[in-house]
């Protein structure tokens, strides 16, 4: 399968944090970057979009492009940061004018359409609120509308869902699928989140990060077959624990995830095994990372 981006040993060194990532972002799909706060998701996204510089390593975009300082690549990536993407004194009209200057492929009519759809008002109206007066959710919507009004090949969105209400998150998922469908198989999405539950049905590929590293990645359907969700009575916990990847227990029951190859052995010690949801899988994988880091 083709990749939209191939990341090879991309590193970024700070005084107290090191990012070191190798991963792929498959072409034609929506990829979620999942991890706790401080795992390095924003750092990785910023480097990929040319917002921050890397210490070393490569990222190859669309099979051949490598220079984030190249306008040809800039025009193909639709980037949006997690908060305050625009200066606070900007209005929708300013956004429309400035996006048209900053990028070659900004479609003002489409921007107006998306603003209307999300009830933000119109960029052509006389009286408009500036970003300062908008709610966090509306600021994010305005930023998303601006990015989606560009004709790009890769969307890179940092925490797009975190400031949105449940209805807006649903619309966001819808929007992802629309974006991918519009040019069947040619477009890709990368977005970060620390709460995957609401984005489960808009995620095809998942990259799990902890402490600046990728700890697991793969297509969601494959991961759901690789791992199983395990739970059972607290009494059997001690026998199940060695077979599990992540484990947590209380006085009545235990739960966690395990590799599917251990499912028969787990069932033999009285455990219940199920196919996990992406949310359950994330909790298990991230918990394991936390346990490993604590050791």
């Amino acid at each position: 399968m083709e990749n939209a981006v191939e990341i090879k040993d991309l590193t970024k060194k700070y005084k107290d944090f090191t990012l070191d990532v190798s991963a792929v972002i498959p072409k034609g799909f929506s990829t979620a970057l999942i991890g706790a706060n401080g795992a390095g998701k924003t750092t990785l996204i910023d480097i990929l979009c040319g917002v921050s510089a890397r210490t070393s390593g490569d990222a190859v975009y669309f099979g051949s492009m490598t220079d984030t300082d190249d306008d040809g690549l800039r025009n193909r990536i639709g980037y949006c940061s997690s908060a305050n993407f625009f200066p606070l004194d900007w209005k929708l009209k300013t956004v429309a004018e400035c996006m048209a200057i900053g990028f070659d492929n900004f479609d003002r009519a489409r921007f107006a359409e998306l603003c209307a759809k999300w009830k933000l008002g119109s960029p052509d109206e006389k009286k408009q609120k500036n970003m300062m007066k908008m709610s966090d959710g509306n600021r994010m919507r305005a930023a998303l509308a601006a990015v989606l009004a560009r004709d790009t090949d890769l969307l890179v969105l940092d925490e797009p869902a975190s400031s949105l209400d449940p209805l807006a998150r649903d619309q966001l998922c819808e929007m992802f699928r629309e974006y991918l469908t519009e040019r069947d198989g040619e477009r890709s999405i990368l977005f970060s989140t620390h709460n995957i539950a609401d984005m489960e049905f808009a995620t095809d590929y998942a990259i799990f990060m902890a402490n600046g590293r990728v700890i697991e990645q793969g297509f969601v359907e494959d991961l759901k077959e690789k791992y199983i969700l395990v739970h059972g009575d607290a009494e059997d916990g001690n026998r199940a624990k060695p077979l599990m990847m992540s484990y947590s227990a209380n006085s009545t029951s235990y739960e966690g995830i395990a590799l599917t190859e251990n499912s028969a052995n787990l069932e033999a010690v009285g455990a219940i095994t199920e196919r996990p949801t992406l949310q359950q899988l994330s909790v298990g994988i991230l918990r394991k990372a936390e346990e490993d880091a604590g050791k």
Binding site: A53, I77, D89
Partner: protein, 233 residues
Amino acid sequence: MQENKSPLTISQALKLYTGTGFAGTVLGLAAYEVLFYLGAFVCMTLMIMLGEGILYPEAVSNIAETPAGDCVMVFAPTLINIIVLLSQYTKDKPGGKLFRTVKGGFGTFVNYRTGVYICELLSMLLFGAAALLLDITGMAKIHGGLSAVIALVVSNIAAIGVITFILPVKNEFVLGAGSVITMFAITCSCTILLPMLSDNLIPHLVTGIAGAVLAAVSSKVYFTHYRKNRWDS
């Protein structure tokens, strides 16, 4: 790495970063400066009228007798120039990340900053013309007259040149306080001293040329430093 090139013009870059184009920025800055000056001048006149118990025209000519009025004139454009100069749109500021992804990248940033310098200079010229007009019509008097106005413009260039050197300071309080003090120290003393120094404009010319050279050098240093430490961080 490409050398600071951008497909965007200075005017486009300015519009992109600030939301306002070239003419709008120049006129806006000049208008703010003139209004600020008028407001401060009216305040001062009122203070003198009330304090000394004298009438309006007398109070105005009182102001014109000392360089105090010239100081008021210095305040307005100086303060506004600093505010504009200090907007660097670093990554942590709203819009900072967007500007790192637009066409031209750092080259666009350089064009934006260059645009800021040009706008400051042009708005200063407009302000100077307005201040002179107010002086001639007698609405607001300047002790040093034309000589003081020219001194203000040239010393502003010099002050901007000096402040550009301290722009890389990361602590915002130090940067803010430092640039305000520097700016006032330079512009106030020049506006008062240059007209006293001689009857011709040679000291002004020297200050202006020195200021322009300073600004050219410091902006070069600033861009190199900014690219290395802020942009590529």
